[in-house]
């Protein structure tokens, strides 16, 4: 099957999803990200790689952290960055997604970073560019609907590798609202590709996708049982804005059963790390004492995220 992310030379053309991305490509991105972490410690935090390139941040859905880290990553590579707050611009006046893209291509865009509430929007853009023969323009998916958030998945893999060095012996638990989470889908795809032997998913039945078992994971609805002896706890945000209907009783009830507290974390391995993609709902999916505790690597995740995005951007723009 043709993979629209890979060009005919086997190089990364777009980054749309981690699902189906070959292991060597994922490892290659993680390896490339490592030297970029050092740039943040310099007096001049800038590399000349993307000098003269124009990157458009197209956020059809609100996000502060992801947009900011993409913006910083692009600026540290000396690209010109344009942030389009699409909810208040042409789309609101009725312009179609692909018309917006064509207009930005006419402004000589080199890369699009796309966040969209609809699953598949970045793939649609990539196919549109390919059909128009614009092979020099690259697309990075910054989160689409419930589908994928590949750079988040990659920065999570970078974080795990940083602290645990090797994926071969790990037990990893993903906890929370998997149903609405594109982050969880990207994490599971990458963890499986990198050879993690045991991936667990913990959450209320109403927030686990029905086909979750087909993804090769073990599901738990009892958090205490699921956290036993894990090396990595990956918390998910409870996505209140995506909840329709009676999926949950109350946030307080959720916290009592599935919130990560010090007492529940004690069931994991003593050297287990706690991750969260942010933004955190303290007192709902995670207790403040854990979020600020010694096992949390939530802020390093943010820092690594910049290096990972720099690596992805420079690998794409160099093709």
């Amino acid at each position: 099957m043709h993979n629209p992310q890979i060009n005919r030379h086997g190089e990364l053309q777009h980054l749309l999803t981690l699902d189906g991305l070959p292991r060597e490509v994922i490892v290659g991105i993680l390896d490339h990200a490592a030297p970029f972490t050092e740039v943040a410690e310099r007096e001049v935090k800038k590399l000349p790689l993307l000098r003269g390139k124009s990157i458009f941040n197209l956020f059809f859905e609100n996000s502060t952290r992801t947009r900011t880290t993409f913006e910083i990553a692009a600026k540290r590579l000396t690209a010109d960055v344009v942030n389009l707050n699409v909810s208040t611009s042409s789309t609101a006046k009725g312009e179609s997604l692909l018309d917006t893209i064509d207009n930005l291509c006419a402004m000589h865009a080199d890369m699009f970073v796309v966040r969209h509430a609809a699953s598949g929007a970045p793939v649609l853009i990539a196919q549109h560019l390919q059909a128009a023969g614009r092979d020099h323009i690259h697309v990075i998916n910054a989160g689409d609907g419930r589908h994928a958030h590949p750079t988040q998945g990659l920065l999570d893999m970078y974080t795990i590798r940083h602290y645990k060095h090797d994926f071969g012996n790990l037990v990893i638990a993903i906890v929370g609202d998997v149903l609405h989470s594109r982050v969880a889908r990207s994490q599971i795809a990458a963890l499986a590709t990198l050879g993690v032997p045991e991936i667990r998913v913990i959450g209320p039945r109403t927030l686990l996708p029905t086909a979750i078992d087909a993804m090769g994971v073990r599901t738990f609805s009892d958090m205490r049982e699921g956290l036993r002896d894990v090396d990595v706890v990956m918390m998910l945000r409870l996505q209140n804005e995506r909840m329709a209907g009676a999926l949950l009783p109350t946030p307080q009830e959720y916290y009592k059963v599935w919130g990560l507290t010090a007492e529940k974390l004690a069931l994991a391995r003593p050297d287990a790390i706690v991750m969260h993609p942010g933004p955190m709902n303290r007192g709902i999916e995670i207790d403040s004492a854990v979020a600020d505790g010694a096992q949390a690597v939530i802020l390093p995740q943010v820092t690594f995220g910049i290096a990972v995005r720099m690596a992805v951007m420079s690998m794409l723009a160099g093709q």
Binding site: E38, R42, E43, V44
Partner: protein, 166 residues
């Protein structure tokens, strides 16, 4: 073509540098050959400050045409560049483009008092106005572009020069 022994050239290079050493002299080797050479010179010259190592992958002038290739490594400069007398160390001086990239990268760490270039071999073929202050061996004739001259290090740390058909 016969090349002089790399170990002997290292000694010559250290002998050239020694009279010009200053209290603020630091060495920065360009990965990978220059890094090995800088470590060797550091020992031969008895310098206190450990040598730095830079990877110029992110400063190459052919990124637009060739993209990122190889595996870029971390640049590691364990001292302040500010007001240091930097000796930039590379194994082979060729077009001068690597030196240009290294100069740009060094200045992103601060403003050195001076930068000098030390190389084991000058193979000719310069494309930029760059010359080495210290050079252990200059080839009598420039090497053709189809050939690569590079430094190699064995497991026990011995240095040797090798000519490869590119």
């Amino acid at each position: 073509m016969q090349f002089p022994d790399a170990e002997t050239l290292c000694q010559h290079l250290a002998d050239q540098i020694r009279p010009s050493l200053q209290p603020n002299t630091v060495l920065i080797g360009i990965r990978t050959g220059g890094e090995w050479l800088a470590r060797r010179l550091h020992t031969l010259l008895g310098l206190k400050e450990p040598p730095g190592a830079i990877d110029i992958s992110f400063y190459r002038d052919d990124y637009g045409a060739r993209g990122l290739h190889g595996r870029p490594q971390r640049t590691d400069i364990p001292f302040s560049i500010e007001d240091a007398a930097v000796i930039l160390v590379d194994d082979v001086l060729y077009t001068g483009r690597t030196t240009r990239a290294a100069l740009n990268e060094i200045f992103d760490f601060g403003r050195p008092a001076s930068v000098e270039l030390a190389v084991l071999v000058d193979r000719g073929g310069r494309e930029l106005p760059i010359a080495a202050r210290y050079c252990a061996h200059t080839l009598p004739e420039p090497l053709p572009a189809s050939q690569n001259l590079q430094l190699e290090q064995t497991e026990d740390g011995n240095l040797s020069l090798r000519l490869i058909d590119a």
